[in-house]
């Protein structure tokens, strides 16, 4: 009789505990997945921006160094500037060829063009509506030779202790817009979009 009672008691406690815990799997229904998707979109955006800055920096130094190897009589500052711009544009073309390397969840498009402060949210909204990454309205794909207009080169000057550097912006102004070089990011899986660009005051060496 005593063993029977103990059995009932233990069974009652166990069944009670399981009955109490039964509704809890519903907790898994809500999660932080949307936040993680937004954070991942931001991470890829920053990667795209970094890739753009690194490519610009590398091809600036590579093309300047290559030009400096020419025999002295053939050198002149205007040609050197053109060589640097052509080198950077070539690097950007390689970057554009690798746009699919940001993973299967993200589409990235590099571009140059004039934008306004409203372009970022507006074009992000458009990309989500259209379902693909696209260059902003009035902008050009980054391999387009017109993008050399957006490379402002300042050449080295040993007298002023100045190294070669570039600013990615445009000296021409179109209305309220400002010229930048950047990237559009869209995720077909997460339905998130972003637009990033190198700040116009950023000095790339």
């Amino acid at each position: 009789m005593r063993g029977y009672l103990s059995f009932l008691l233990v069974l009652a406690i166990l069944v009670g505990i399981f009955a109490f815990l039964a509704p809890f799997p519903a907790l898994h229904a809500s999660s932080d997945s949307r936040a993680i998707e937004a954070e991942r979109t931001n991470a890829v955006s920053m990667n795209a921006k970094e890739a753009l800055a690194e490519s610009t920096s590398y091809w600036l130094r590579a093309s300047a160094t290559a030009y400096d190897l020419l025999p002295e009589p053939e050198k002149n500052p205007i040609e050197r500037k053109l060589a640097i711009k052509a080198g950077i544009l070539g690097g950007w073309a390689l970057l554009a060829a690798g746009e699919d390397q940001f993973g299967p969840d993200f589409e990235v498009k590099f571009w140059c063009g004039h934008i306004t402060s409203r372009t970022k949210p507006e074009h992000s909204k458009t990309m989500i509506a259209q379902g693909n990454a696209s260059v902003c309205p009035g902008c050009y794909e980054i391999w387009n030779p017109i993008c050399t207009e957006y490379i402002i080169v300042e050449q080295k000057d040993p007298a002023k202790d100045l190294d070669d550097n570039v600013h990615l912006t445009s000296s021409t102004h179109l209305g309220a817009g400002f010229g930048v070089v950047g990237a559009s990011i869209y995720s077909p899986r997460y339905k998130t979009a972003n637009l990033v660009y190198i700040p116009i005051t950023e000095e790339i060496k």
Binding site: V15, S30, R34, S124, K191, A193, N194
Partner: protein, 99 residues
């Protein structure tokens, strides 16, 4: 005596029925308590998840396709009546209102 129920057996059966009813009552009470508790915990977790989602979009300067304004993902639907304290009384979520 064969065929007769002894007092002891009757008592034993009574105790058995009593314990069985106690067990069933305890199970249903525990289940109800669990449902109420889990709905509160779930609501709090949902509010936390929404707050983190909002922060993730806002801090990354990303366009949020489901903002709190306009009935997007940023709404906490209360499971019970309005005014259920969600975060230990510090934040209250009314039906359909943004946290």
């Amino acid at each position: 005596m064969k065929g007769q129920i002894t007092l002891e057996e009757l008592l034993s059966f009574g105790v058995y029925l009593f314990l069985l009813s106690l067990l069933i009552a305890a199970v249903f009470t525990a289940k109800d308590t669990g449902v109420v508790w889990s709905s509160k915990v779930e609501l709090r977790q949902e509010a936390n998840s929404l707050a983190r989602t909002h922060d993730a979009f806002y801090n990354s300067n990303l366009y949020n396709p489901e903002p709190w304004e306009g009935g997007g993902a940023g709404y906490v639907e209360t499971k019970e009546d309005t005014g259920v304290p969600v975060l230990e009384g510090s934040v209250e979520v009314a039906n359909g209102e943004a946290i």
